[in-house]
């Protein structure tokens, strides 16, 4: 299996719902807690596994605003894993999920340096590296209702812009979306081969205009039609 996410840039409104759902689930999740520094004073910061960036494409007046949520891409060639000296970082054979074993990490940061997508954040309080677990502690929790065995960010997305699934299975929803909407990888040139894929904004629908009345008609006054109430 090759598990990952598809994110639809055509519908993401940048609400940050997935980011906070992620924070909420994972702070009590398998790699939790996700600590926060200066939570109630100047320059608050903390450990997040999913952040939303906003870009403007094009110049005034023809600009488009695009929201880009980013979490671990669970890359197929995950240099974050190869560089890790302790073996805390690893990519699971059975589903391709990239994880950090919290008991092994020594906090050297090298994996974060090796990650092009800013997906890894060192937890200042715990001293270990944190990253998206693809909610491994939800998707495999057989005690959860089947429909809820999904990543927290996917379940919560109010525009349903996030889809989770197996990219190895050509019939999975994610594979279909990637095909039909010609999904894109970020920074493909670096060769990490990220699994998470982004669906570019759709082309605008064509809207027809109603035929205009000819001048002769418009100058003619309005005529009453017999219409019963």
């Amino acid at each position: 299996m090759k598990l990952g996410l598809v994110v639809d840039l055509d519908t993401c409104v940048g609400c940050h719902g997935c980011a906070t759902a992620c924070k909420q689930w994972n702070t009590s999740g398998t790699i939790g807690p996700l600590s926060d520094q200066d939570p109630y004073s100047k320059d608050p910061s903390g450990t997040w596994l999913n952040r939303i960036r906003t870009y403007e494409v094009g110049d005034t007046p023809n600009s488009k605003t695009v929201h880009m949520p980013m979490s671990c891409m669970h890359c197929e060639d995950a240099a974050c894993v190869t560089v890790c000296p302790t073996g805390a970082s690893y990519k699971r054979e059975e589903d391709g999920i990239v994880l950090v074993d919290q008991d092994k990490c020594m906090g050297c940061n090298l994996c974060a340096w090796a990650c092009p997508y800013g997906a890894r954040e060192l937890d200042a309080e715990q001293g270990t590296m944190k990253k998206c677990t693809l909610c491994v502690d939800r998707i495999y929790d057989l005690k959860l209702p089947e429909a809820e065995r999904q990543p927290a960010c996917v379940l919560t997305c109010p525009t349903r812009s996030r889809t989770f699934g197996d990219f190895d299975d050509p019939n999975s929803e994610v594979s279909q979306l990637v095909r039909e909407r010609s999904g894109k990888q970020l920074l493909p040139e670096l060769g990490y081969n990220p699994v998470n894929t982004y669906l570019p904004p759709r082309n605008k629908p064509v809207a027809e205009v109603h035929a205009q009345a000819s001048v002769s008609q418009t100058v003619k006054g309005w005529v009453n039609k017999i219409i019963t109430r």
């Binding site: 320059d43 240099a79 190869t82 020594m106 906090g107 800013g118 982004y198």
Partner: protein
Amino acid sequence: MHPAFSVLIFTVASGAGYGLIFLLILGHLVGISALQDQMLILVAGITSLIFISCGLLASTLHLTNPKNAWRAFSRFKTSWLSREAVFAILFYPFVIGYLLAIYLQGSQLNGLSALLGVMSLVIAFITLFCTSMIYASLKTIKQWNTALTPVNYIVLGLMSGSLLLLAIQAMLAASPATDLYNLAFVFLAMGAVVKSIYFYWIGKPSGSTIKTATGFTQASVRLLDQGHSSNAFLNNEFGYTVEADKLLRIRMASLGLSFLIPALILMSTSSVLLVLAVFVCLAGLLAERWLFFAEARHVVRFFQANKKD
């Protein structure tokens, strides 16, 4: 990239240390006359060990969870950092054995001490190489991801090593030995050349852009919001920025201190001044390391914008 002081110290010190021991033993083995002196070998050897060990200690300072540092030996198979750690430790028994042999039976080599010597210098060199590869292997940082990185690092290590060696030799035997003297000169020249090539090379734009980072290749792309209004881990780790003119000044300083001034000092053959040359050079190399980080731009910066006040 944020230049962590501990890492600067580590790379400069261990670079010089390994360079020194490498040249020392090599010279001893190939029989350079000036290096057949027991006292010199012991003093230089110990000095290199001090440099190397301080470096290693410094390197553990930036770990946020040092209790797991020992696990760094686990991933020899893929991790250059792991390999560096393994070789750095492996180095000790051989070099200590070698120095012990010299201590006990003087500078004449026998089979065992020669073997220990050979092993030490080989491992020293490999360790230098591994350290440089930690950086060179990162595709995320264009300024590091080049063969120039190991070449630079090794040459500068040997250069500082050669200066150290010369200084120690000159201190002990009132006057500097010509071939060590020439060796230092050659390395200073090489160092200046490779570093200049590096500076020229990173000047050329290439690699990823905000367009490939966002997938919008048709039009201009601007980051409007990074999703958090105060700096967070990624800003602090990768957001390091220095004004261009300041960078230029530090470049000049680094070139001057690392190569030019030591070279000038070398002209005057006074042993005391040689020691000064070593320190000037090491200072220059610290600046060079600092630049190595400060001038490195991680691709994550396309996704981040540092808070200005």
